[in-house]
Symmetry: C2
Subunit: 305 residues, 2 copies
């Protein structure tokens, strides 16, 4: 009795990715003994071809991007990766070689980030390739970074550079010169700031990752913390000096950490920049330019709907 196509595909391409507890992907569910004395940290994100990645992106990077987006959520909580589950809706007629390359990419990132797949589902779709990933991480009880701890007077920091995501999308579309492919790679393979998240445990009073645009995401941090914020646009580290600042601070796909620290506390051992501070009052974001004047922005960030 030969295996139906679905199970043959899983055995060939996904079984090599299965971790302990995945039961060789041949039971109805996986088993996981949670590390004792730890809280679990869980997040789930979905991506659709043509919306969250380009339809002609290399198959090796597509699954890795989704994994890294989820790892970025763990980083924002100060958590360590543990395992993941993934579902894939494959367009009819997807070539076996495509799936092989997709799985090979996942294997690279599993090794890079020290986790493995526990389970999932592969189905077919008449629509675009659609992926969903649930990630599990762990953190010491009470040590998770949250969005709700910023207080008026706290300083606002961000890791890395802002705007590489939106520039990278333009580069990947061939709309921006990108001779070394650096920007396109930032779009296709963002770097989850896991080490920075760990280093911020007990230091940051609030933290999140920047996925939908710096200004919009800062608004979320303000709402969760119940205070306002002033963002100094001229201090935001940008990857392109000649680009439109408003576009870069409202674009998506940066996956840097945006966090609050008590005044005078510098985040230890990481590339991070102080870009503003939190204020009393309504949870609104005031963006000011180099002259200290409020800037008017055409939009705050990216909405998925």
């Amino acid at each position: 009795m030969t295996l139906p196509p679905e199970f043959s595909l899983i055995a060939r391409h996904f079984l090599p990715l299965a971790g302990a507890g995945a039961l060789a992907l041949s039971d109805d569910a996986a088993l996981l003994t949670p590390p004792p004395g730890r809280e679990l940290v869980l997040a789930a994100d979905a991506m659709v071809a043509g919306v969250h990645f380009l339809e002609d992106d290399p198959p090796e990077t597509i699954g890795r991007k989704l994994l890294r987006v989820n790892l970025s959520d763990l980083a924002a909580m100060g958590a360590d990766p543990l395992a993941y589950l993934m579902t894939i809706a494959l367009p009819h007629g997807t070539a076996d070689a495509w799936v092989a390359a997709f799985a090979a990419g996942m294997a690279l990132d599993q090794a890079e980030y020290g986790l493995a797949v526990l389970g999932g589902d592969t189905v077919s779709t008449p629509g675009p390739l659609t992926l969903s990933l649930t990630i599990l991480g762990v953190v010491a009880p009470g040590a998770a970074l949250r969005r709700n701890g910023a207080r008026p007077g706290d300083e606002l920091w961000v890791t890395g550079r802002i705007g590489d995501g939106v520039l990278g999308l333009a580069a990947a579309r061939g709309q921006l010169a990108d001779p070394d492919g650096c920007f396109a790679t930032r779009y296709r393979l963002p770097t989850p700031r896991l080490a920075e998240g760990r280093a911020l445990r007990g230091i940051a009073t609030a933290c999140m990752d920047v996925s939908d645009g710096l200004v919009q995401d800062l608004g979320h941090l303000c709402r969760a913390s119940g205070c306002g914020a002033v963002l100094r646009a001229a201090d935001v580290p940008l990857g392109a000096a000649d680009a439109d600042v408003a576009m870069l601070i409202t674009g998506g796909d940066d996956y840097e950490l945006l966090f609050a620290c008590r005044p005078g506390t510098a985040p230890p051992g990481m590339a991070a920049t102080r870009i503003g501070h939190f204020t009393e009052g309504a949870p609104t974001v005031t963006v000011i330019d180099a002259a200290g004047q409020p800037m008017s922005l055409p939009r705050q960030g990216w909405s998925h709907l």
Copy 2:
């Protein structure tokens, strides 16, 4: 500052579904303290409109079907439900009332099965509605039912009735008379056999749920256990006496439990029927008719690819 559409939709429709640890769906991830001394049981399934459910199915039943399909995976492992995460790719222009009805359906099943949502993601798609759900359950260490424990001589059992899924699909499509709507409901809202799964802990030597057709799924049980099986088609409990037996035992969407017990052991306190036995030798399934003659089947079951 008004919320972008995505976050407004989540706040209105999904926040009321959020459980403890979901952090009001306003952090990057959820926190969960695993119940001490328990193993976690994890599964993920995806569903695509027009493939796994009908595009015009009532919105109240669509999410519940996916939740129940995942609960059925927990039932097959003998696990108790704990929580879930869900991602939803909504077609452009989905009406707010549709989302409200979808969420109202989820609320019913959360109450019915005693679990709540921990997190997820809502995105838009140019394609069909696509849902993915990851479920978490718990079981005492070592108590999970597996697929690999059936031995030659063990008897083969199934809960409930087989074929209601494929008959229900025909009824939902208007191709089968269904005056009381019973079959269509079985297709749209399968019943996860959680109580039966619990009762089979320590009793069944192997167990799985029937999702892709009885014959094909029995093949999985045989491969995992390393033995063959004889299935007596005439003994399989069917919902329609006049329907094609071959169609019913190879159709999908039944979500009954298929399990093995030592000879002479009857599963306690449940509606279950003995339909065959396991044999020495290659992991093949022999389907025999009432006269004991091998039946030839046009297919084994449903493949998702």
